[in-house]
């Protein structure tokens, strides 16, 4: 069982992702904004972070940058779940250290496969 933190400001999506990951046997925590999410990541030290890009207070890119700057969190896999679909957005996400990138609208099956891959890596 892995610990996953879902940082997403849309409750429909965060609760659906949490529901799917719990069904897969993981322990899940949900945070609704970037700053609270980063605080939870620092405290909990999860095995994986599922991260939205556009969020209040601190966006997903800033959260990922902060994680990568912290030696103890630098290796934590990050899966970005975002509506941003331009090539430049993809490049930006990977350049700050995002490990996987899923575009919204998304498939929960694809999400589950990518999560397992990241947790198994």
């Amino acid at each position: 069982m892995a610990t996953v933190i879902v940082i997403e400001d849309d409750p429909d999506i965060s609760l659906l992702v949490a529901h799917k990951l719990r069904a897969a046997g993981h322990r899940v925590e949900v945070e609704a904004d970037g700053r609270a999410g980063l605080a939870a990541v620092v405290q909990v030290r999860p095995d994986l972070v599922v991260l939205d890009w556009m969020m209040p207070r601190m966006n997903g890119i800033e959260v990922c940058e902060a994680m990568r700057a912290d030696p103890e969190l630098a290796g934590t896999p990050v899966l970005m779940l975002t509506a941003k679909a331009q090539e430049a957005d993809l490049e930006r996400a990977y350049s700050v250290g995002v490990d996987e990138y899923i575009q919204k609208p998304f498939s929960t099956r694809e999400l589950a496969v990518r999560v397992e891959r990241l947790l198994g890596a």
């Binding site: 849309d10 429909d12 609760l15 659906l16 919204k104 609208p105 498939s107 929960t108 694809e110």
Partner: protein, 306 residues
């Protein structure tokens, strides 16, 4: 010194008549009652809205549980009561735009099987615009087989909000075959679709070629021609270059500015010649001229200083 004597010299007793005293008392009591009533009203409203919030959030949680079960492949029966059905419909509408693939198909199938699609069709013919708009959103949530006919009809609805909702719904479905209908609705003289709504919907459907924008390129309506240019630039439709260069010769400053912006986004240096030719024209407004200079500079990867 006799202070009492001094006081008695200076002090003049206040003259108060019994009538004035009564009026003052009445005003005081009335104000107190009014303040109390207002405080009670505020407290009651807050309590009511808190209760309503709790009830709504419980209803939404229950609706989410139903929809999640549908997505999990274990579909329950839809609730019977109209309020709970409405909550399920609203949740399904919200989630359907965030899902794709098998999840979306499962949700659409379940909504159809449980009668929500029929309900949506009825709502789309309702008297009130808000009901028609809600019907359009629910209808899209029920779509798995891309039957867009009723939505295309709503692009010409008598209420602009319904037209915009129908356009957004088509965009969210990603139905590229709807693009010509969106363009036609935007260019229509009667009940036109707002150009911004058409543009957003077209960007969502993401046509892969400039040809997909069809009649928008030759539209006499500058807003529609500008929309074609903006969309082509935003979606980086490289085959739009020649059409955009032709739009540079438009008599409408708005169209010229959009075409220049789009050409800069495409970044093909071959367009620099067309832009510099247009700059020779001295009749252009300063803002458009500035836009052309910026586009020209962008194509040469230099910064334009106005």
């Amino acid at each position: 010194m006799n202070w009492q004597c001094v006081w008695s010299d200076c002090w003049e007793p206040e003259i108060v008549t019994p009538g004035v005293e009564t009026v003052a008392t009445v005003i005081l009591v009335a104000s107190t009652v009014l303040v109390l009533v207002l405080v009670l009203a505020v407290v009651s409203l807050r309590a009511l809205s808190a209760v309503k919030g709790v009830v709504t959030s419980r209803r939404t949680a229950a609706a989410r549980a139903v929809i999640f079960a549908v997505i999990d492949g274990d579909p329950p029966r839809a609730p019977r009561g109209p309020v709970r059905r409405a909550a399920v419909a609203a949740t399904a509408v919200r989630l359907s735009t965030k899902l794709r693939g098998a999840d979306r198909a499962a949700l659409a199938r379940w909504l159809t099987d449980e009668g929500f699609r029929h309900r949506a069709t009825v709502m789309m013919h309702a008297t009130f615009a808000i009901s028609r708009a809600r019907g359009a959103r629910l209808f899209v949530a029920c779509l798995a087989d891309r039957e867009t006919g009723p939505l295309l009809d709503l692009l010409h609805d008598r209420d602009v909000r319904v037209r915009a909702v129908a356009a957004r719904a088509l965009g969210e479905c990603g139905i590229s075959s709807a693009v010509p209908f969106l363009v036609r609705a935007a260019a229509s003289h009667e009940n036109p679709l707002p150009v911004s709504a058409a543009a957003m919907a077209i960007v969502h459907t993401a046509p892969r070629s400039a040809r997909g924008l069809g009649m928008a390129w030759g539209s006499g309506d500058p807003a529609v021609a500008s929309m074609a240019a903006d969309v082509a630039g935003y979606l980086h439709l490289t085959d739009a270059r020649e059409r955009l260069e032709r739009l540079l010769n438009s008599g409408e400053p708005e169209v010229v500015a959009s075409a220049a912006r789009a050409l800069a986004r495409l970044g093909d240096p071959r367009s620099a010649a067309a832009i510099s030719t247009r700059l020779v024209d001295g009749d252009l407004p300063a803002q458009v001229r500035n836009g052309l200079h910026v586009a020209f500079a962008d194509l040469h990867h230099v910064r334009f200083e106005s």
